[in-house]
Every structure is written in C-alpha cells, then in structure tokens.
C-alpha cells in the first residue's frame, strides 16, 4: 500500500470554496481534514489515495486556500525575468516565499508542480472576479492542466452558467459541477470523465476506478437494503409473550423497547455501510402505544395477509394433490388435488387463528408489532436510504427527513413483509440461513422502493 499512486491530483482554489469538503466526498472519508466556514482551516497539504484493483490508482491532495494571489502575482512580476512562467514559479519556490508571507500559496504551487493535474474548486455562489483570474494565471503558470469544479451548485445562490461562460473566456472549457454536500453520483462520474479528458494517458485507469467505485456503491446499497429488510422481518416476527397476569402495558413497553433497539441497530449498520458518522441520524421515538394481534380477523391488513397465506398454502397442498393424482394414474379424478388444497388452507388458518387461543389456554398472552409500526419503520428506513444516497461525506449536519407520510413505501413491500412475518416467527437471529427464504424478497422490494442510486 505504500506504492505511489499512478495519478496525482492537487485540489486547489480560493479559501473556503470547499476543497477539503470535495476530498471528503470523493474519498468517502468524512473525518478527513478540517472543514469549517472560516478561512485558512486547512494549513498543510495532505492526501488520500483511491485504490483500484488493490493498488493505489489516484491520489488526491488537499491544499491550503489561495488567499493572496494578487499579492503573489505582484511579487512574481517583480522577480528577475525567467525563461518561461514555469521557470518563474520554480524560481519563486526555490526562494523564501516573500519571507514566509506566501508560505501557504507556495505549498499550493509546490503540490501542483508535483501533481499531474489540478481540480480548481470554485464557490459558485460567489460572483466571477478578477482575483479568480489572478489565481488561474498563477496556477496556469505551473504548467499543469486545470479542471475547474463548480462547487455549491445545489445552492439557490449559485450561478453556474455565468461561471461556465466566464471560465470558457479564460480558456477553461473542460469544467465540472459538483456539490459536496448534496451528492450526485452522475456528477461524480462526470468529474472523473473530465479528468480523463485532460489526462488522456490515464483515461483507462480513471474509467476502471470509476467502475469499481460504482460497483462498490451498488454493493453497499444492496447490503443496506438487506439490513433494512432483516430488521423489518425480525420486527415483524417478534412475539412478546408473558403470563396472563402481567399488565398489557408492560408487554407493550417491552415490545416497543425491543423494536426501537432493532431499528437503532439497523440505522447504525446502514450508516456504517455508507461510511457516515453514527451521529448523522437518530431515529425519532416510536409512537408505539399498543401492540395487538396482527391477525385480528377484522383487520384488513391481516385479512389480506391471510389471503396470501391461505392461497399459497392451498396452492402447495394442491400441488401435492396433483402429484398424488398423477401417481395413481388420474384414477382419483382430481379428488386428491381438492383435498390437498383444502388441507393446506386449513393448516394455514389453524396456525393463524388457532395459535393465539392455544396460547391463551396455556396461560400466555402474546403481543406482536402493529402493522402500522411496520409501515412506519419501512417508510422511515426507505427515506433514510434515499437521503443517504444523496448525502455527500462533507455534510456535517444531521440527516434531515421530512415527516414521513402514512402507510407503506410500496404495496409490494408491504406484502413481502407481511408474508415474511409468518416465516420468521420465532426469530431469525440464530439461524442465519433462513435469510434466503424470508429476507431476500423483502430486501428486493426495499431496493426497488429506494430507486436509482
């Protein structure tokens, strides 16, 4: 891992334009450097190398902000005449940097001389100014390709169009737009593509890097959907049992606590998968006041889930009956099919409606999560996944989610969860392998509900 990356990119720009933020978001390293809305928060040059196929492919270097490009330009003009701009810069770097006055600018120029190209980060909310021209002239004198990156483009104040035309007037036609806080996968791909344009020799490498990052992102998304699905199935299958004399409120409270813990575990897993701070989102309290029998015969949800269940049980029984019919050469004229279907449905019904009464007889009462709670959990987690997919690693405010609407994120997801509810009764925790039957369909529906990355 100590090998030097094949491509070195310096991230440069005026102070406070989001250079450190860009590094955080591009490297998914939310702890990188110091990000603040004040000037000169970054004072040294530090880097992160992105790995592709096990070797460092692209190193990004964060640099201090340019704060006095005009002053430095003046000083450079006062220097003894150099053969060309690059020689002028070398001459400046070899000196004492104006008695340390342009130490910060010297670091930027030195890093740029060491790099293959630079991303010039621009706060697109700022008006286009002459000082930018000074900065670009200075950076251009280093003899490295510059790709301007318009940052803050998701802000209302940003005026990217003006910037684009002004940059084009300065001869910078290859430009990228980005917002380090509101993440956009397409913008990131475009940024790498633009780098590929100015670094033609490394275009293949950049493409491979981008592909491996996209594959990784999809894998992370799937794993996050899986974590959400596991939580939903687990909560759906939870049964809290207690002797009859225990007050109902106590059981409800125990159920609520265990559901909240399951949700918190899921949120932690999802945040960790996306490599965000675990503080980035705290699920609000569950409004669980009352658990109840899921399969209250009058509950439409329950009836629906029973319909599904009886249907599939009847289908299985029927299939067995068909096999018997076939085995006896059709002599039973399909009687076995009918019988099998009936038995399947009866078995399923007995499991659903008989169990509670059996428990009562045995002196137990039992509570399960209300379908409304399952809906709330599902909606909240899907909204969280969506928010995280649009969150850059530079974001330092907690995830904001608008109060979620009532009901399930999608009808197929509801059906999948309610169906899994019966399969997972008794808990998934120990038997890892039950995942494929109970969780996979739910995970698939969560992925569909979350939408494109």
């Amino acid at each position: 891992m100590t090998a030097e990356a094949k491509v070195q990119i310096a991230v440069v720009g005026h102070t406070n334009t989001g250079k450190t933020s860009l590094l955080r978001t591009l490297t998914r390293e939310s702890g990188f450097g110091v990000v603040s809305a004040r000037s000169a928060s970054t004072r040294d040059v530090s880097g992160v190398a992105l790995i592709c196929d096990g070797t460092p492919a692209l190193a990004l270097f964060d640099t201090p902000g340019l704060e006095d490009a005009s002053g430095l330009a003046e000083a450079l003009d006062a220097q003894p005449e150099a053969a060309d701009p690059v020689a002028g810069i070398e001459q400046f770097l070899a000196g004492d940097h104006g008695q340390g006055r342009w130490e910060q600018e010297a670091k930027v120029l030195r890093q740029l001389r060491r790099s293959d190209a630079a991303l010039y980060v621009i706060d697109a909310r700022e008006p286009v100014q002459t000082k930018h021209r000074d900065e670009l002239r200075l950076l251009g004198a280093c003899g490295r390709p510059l790709v301007p990156v318009l940052n803050f483009v998701a802000s209302d104040e940003a005026d990217p169009e003006r910037w684009r035309s002004q940059l084009a007037r300065m001869g910078l036609h290859v430009q990228a737009s980005f917002d380090t806080v509101v993440y956009d996968a397409a913008a990131e791909r475009a940024l790498f593509d633009k780098l590929g344009v100015v670094l033609d020799a490394h275009r293949g490498l950049l493409q491979r890097l981008m592909q491996s990052r996209e594959a990784e992102r999809e894998a992370v998304t799937l794993a996050a959907c899986r974590a959400v699905a596991t939580m939903l199935v687990e909560v759906a299958g939870q049964r809290h049992q207690a002797p009859l004399h225990v007050p109902q409120a106590d059981i409800t409270e125990a159920l609520r606590r265990s559901i909240a813990a399951a949700e918190q575990r899921c949120v932690d897993a999802v945040l960790a998968l996306f490599q965000f701070d675990l503080q980035a989102y705290q699920p609000p309290e569950l409004p669980l006041t009352e658990g109840r029998w899921t399969l209250d015969p009058l509950d439409p949800e329950a009836l629906r889930s029973f319909g599904i269940r009886a249907g599939s049980a009847a289908a299985t029984g029927g299939a067995a009956g068909v096999a018997v019919d076939a085995a006896v050469g059709g002599m039973s004229l399909g009687a076995a099919t009918v019988l099998g279907a009936g038995l399947g449905a009866a078995w399923s019904g007995a499991q659903t409606f008989g169990r509670p009464w059996l428990d009562r007889l045995r002196g137990h009462q039992q509570q399960v999560a209300d379908p409304a709670i399952l809906a709330l959990l599902a909606t909240r987690q899907v909204a969280l996944l969506r928010a995280l997919l649009r969150r850059g690693h530079a974001a330092d405010t907690p995830v904001q989610m608008t109060p979620t609407a009532q009901g399930w994120p999608s009808a197929p997801l509801r059906d999948a969860v309610l169906r899994a509810r019966h399969r997972s009764a008794g808990g998934l925790a120990a038997t890892g392998a039950e995942h494929d039957t109970a969780v996979s369909p739910v995970a698939h529906q969560v992925r569909v509900a979350v939408g494109a990355t």
Binding site: R110, T431, T437
Partner: protein
C-alpha cells in the same frame, strides 16, 4: 453482486472455516457491530484474495477463534456421531428385517420379502418426493425442533446458557434454510440406504449359507398374475444381469422359486432398494454441499458487508505531505463590549471609497453626509497599486472599504487594508454590504462570518467599527 469481479470465484475452503466465518457474522450482527480487532483485520489483508477469503482469514485470526473452532468441532462431531448411530441402527434393522422375512416360512414367500425390504423403502421415498415442494415451509420448523432438542439436551446436561452458546449458533446455521433442508433429507436417505444395504447383505449371506424353500405363491393372486407382476418388475434385475426367463419352475400348481428366484430377489433388492436411495442420497448430499458452500459467502449480510472497508480498503490515507510551518496567527483580543463602547462615528464629507473586490458598477450604500470618491475595485495587483497611490495622495481623507459580507475574509484583504492603514492618517473603516445574503445562510454561519470580519479588521489595525448584527441575530 459484489464489488470486485474476483469475489464470485469460489476458492477451496474447509467447512469448519466457513462455519467459523458464519458464526462470527451471526455473533457480530447480534452485537450490532463487528468486533474491533486490528490484528485480525491486518492478518486478513495480508492473506489477500477475494473478500470471502479475507472474511474467513479474519474470523480465524480473532482471539477467540480457537474456542469457536472447538465448538464447531463438537457440533460436527456430535452430528457425525448421530449419523453413524442412525446408519448403524438402520443397517441392523435391515439385516433383521431380511432374516425375519426369510424365516416367515417355510416356504418363504418371495413377494413378502420383496414387499418388506423394498416396498416400505420405496413408499417412504415417494412420500419424501411429494414433500419436497413443501419442505421450504417445513424445515424451518424442523430446524427449530432440532434447536429445541439441542437446548434441552445441552442445557440439561451442562447447564449451558443457551443464549450465547456458540454451539447452538453453529447448529442453527447448519440446520437453517437450504442447508437444513438437504441435511435432513440426506440423513433420511443415508438411514434408508443403510437399511437397504443391511437387508441385501443379510439376504446374500443367508441365501448363500442356508437352503430356503422359496415360493412365488400368494393366497389371492393366481400364479399367472404373479408372473405378470414379476415380469413387469424384471427390468431392474435384468439390467443387473440376473436370470429373468425361467423363474417359474411350477409343479402341480405350485410355483417354486429356485436358485434363479433367489438371484432375482437379490438383484431386485439391489435395483429397487439400494440404488434409488443411493441416487437420492447423492442428490441431496450434493445439494447440501452446495448449500453449505454458501456459508460465509453471503456478502450482502451486514455482518460481512460492514467488514468490506476494513478488509478490502478502497483508499489509503497518505497523511500530511507538506506540513504548515507556523501555528495559525492568534486572533487579537477583542472584547466586544469594550469595542462597542469606543465605536468610531461615521466619517462625513468627502470619503475615499474602495470596493474590496470586483463588484461591478454598483452604487455604494447611502450614508448621511458622506460624499463618495474613488470607488474602484481593488482585487487585482494593478488596482491595488492604484488604490494605494490614491490613498497616499489624500492622507487626510477617511477611507471606507466596502466588502461583500458573503466573501471569505482572507489574508490578501487583510494585508491590503493594513497597507492602506499605514498610508493615511485619517480613519480607515470596513463596511459590509449585502448582509441579507449572509443572513439567508442561517444564523450560525452569519455570526461566524461577522466575527471573522471583525477579527480581520482588528488585525489590519482599522478604526474599529463594530459590524452590525442583523435584526434578531444578536
């Protein structure tokens, strides 16, 4: 499904290693986060290879891996013991069933022997086959049943806390899902195979060493019907090379089965008893093998997926490559109350105004009694030189520097204002404009930015004019 393309190629690994990885995964998922053991992570990265392989390497390098391995060996050992026990019992019962069926004479009835040794076997095979479509539903209960049994068994004997007994978890992994389904089926087939083999061996030995009177006769069926049935069933024995043509050496209405009948019986027991079960066992065993190969490979499970960053890092921090020489300049002490007390009044009369950056041709703010002069932009080297000259030319004229509040206060501005300060005897003050845009960014950034401007003005030595806090923010 996985990030790197190499992840899908299975590499050889032992069942125990995969179980260990799955066990660690279940445990860490229950704990809510993967254990932090940097040494194990480093060992896994050292191992290299695909993600699944690194996960196994990490699991093997965890400090309590030996204990977990022991638990796995115990479960596998007990499972094997159970298998052997069941197989042995079934083998013996097959042998006894064969002996008993032959002894139910004389003469011993060939149809009866066949029915007892092969019929029951085939019937149960058929029942199992019919149950296969249902088994997805049934095995979870089977698995839970096994777990409950284990709990009773282990809990009763050793008083183990069932909750975090790794053996319980291992068992759960083995008997859950597809693995459990095919494991249960394989166990059944193994037992029946052993039954059939025991019966066949017993038949072979008994028929070789003793003389039995064998008969095809039944009470109800006519010899011709029996013959038709036997012919119908003969394709199996024929395929195994048994004589099928002269089976019925009938005398006086009796159908006595001789040596040929015994050979036919042995061949039929082999063809209809042993071979189907062998085939079923091979199938189910193969399916179980496939199912167990997925232990520790379900890389989307959060227990595994959360390890990806640690075991297959996609980036490496290079650290500081060019460190800052000096610590950041300390902010000058500026107690806000004292500053407010000594607030400088607005100048009046002719005032030299300068835009700190290129603000186009905007009008300056209207201040009472202020006549603006100058008002060039000063964000280039040349403009700053000109501005310095203008200030130096009127050393008695107050200077107001106009800056957009949203601009980042930087060292360039500070240096420039300090230069202006040194060039004139009159007051130099900073005026922030466009406050509404700053306010729109929220109270915290606004307060921060104003404080930074204040600090900058103090450092540049400007006449102190406390910057106005917008309404409702102070």
């Amino acid at each position: 499904m996985t990030g790197a393309g190499t992840d899908d190629t299975p590499c050889p690994s032992r069942l125990a290693d995969r179980l260990l990885a799955a066990l660690v995964c279940v445990r860490e998922e229950a704990a809510g986060h993967p254990a932090d053991v940097p040494a194990a992570d480093a060992a896994a990265r050292q191992t290299g290879g695909d993600f699944a392989r690194r996960i196994r390497a990490r699991a093997a390098a965890l400090p309590d891996a030996p204990a977990l391995r022991k638990a796995i060996q115990q479960v596998l050992g007990r499972g094997l013991g159970l298998l052997l026990l069941v197989v042995a019992l079934a083998g013996f019962s097959g042998a006894f069933a064969a002996a008993a069926a032959l002894d139910a004479g004389p003469p011993a009835s060939l149809p009866l022997v066949l029915l007892l040794l092969v019929g029951s076997n085939l019937l149960m095979l058929l029942v199992w086959l019919l149950g296969v479509p249902l088994s997805r539903r049934v095995t979870p209960s089977l698995g839970r049943c096994a777990m409950t049994l284990w709990q009773r068994f282990a809990g009763g004997r050793a008083g183990i806390d069932a909750g975090d007994d790794p053996r319980r978890t291992v068992l759960g992994i083995l008997v859950g899902g597809a693995s459990g389904r095919w494991l249960a089926a394989s166990l059944g087939h193994a037992a029946w195979l052993s039954f059939a083999l025991g019966a066949w061996l017993s038949l072979l030995i008994l028929l070789s060493v003793r003389a039995y009177a064998l008969s095809w006769d039944t009470t109800l069926l006519a010899p011709a019907t029996v013959a038709a049935w036997v012919h119908g069933l003969s394709f199996g024995p024929a395929a195994l090379g048994a004589p099928v043509d002269h089976l019925f050496a009938g005398t006086a209405g009796q159908t006595v089965a001789g040596q040929a009948g015994a050979q036919w019986l042995l061949a039929a027991a082999l063809a209809y008893g042993v071979l189907p079960r062998l085939l079923a066992l091979l199938c189910c065993g193969g399916l179980w093998w496939r199912a167990q190969a997925r232990f520790g490979r379900d890389l989307q499970r959060s227990g595994y997926a959360r390890l990806r960053r640690r075991l297959m890092p996609d980036r490496v921090l290079l650290g500081v490559t060019d460190a800052a020489l000096a610590p950041p300049p300390a902010a000058p002490p500026s107690p806000p109350e004292a500053a407010t007390a000594h607030a400088v009044p607005w100048p009046s009369g002719p005032v030299l105004g300068l835009w700190l950056d290129d603000a186009g041709d905007r009008r300056p703010p209207a201040l009472p009694n202020v006549h603006w002069h100058g008002l060039g932009a000063t964000d280039t080297a040349a403009a700053r030189t000109a501005a310095r000259a203008a200030v130096a030319a009127h050393p008695q004229r107050p200077v107001l520097v106009l800056a957009r509040a949203t601009m980042s206060p930087d060292r360039g501005a500070e240096r420039f204002m300090a230069q202006l300060r040194s060039l004139t005897a009159a007051p130099v003050q900073l005026v922030l404009i466009d406050m509404d845009r700053l306010v729109a960014r929220g109270p915290a950034p606004c307060r921060q930015r104003l404080a930074d401007w204040q600090t900058l003005a103090l450092r540049a030595g400007l006449e102190h004019r406390p910057l106005q806090w917008p309404e409702g923010l102070a």
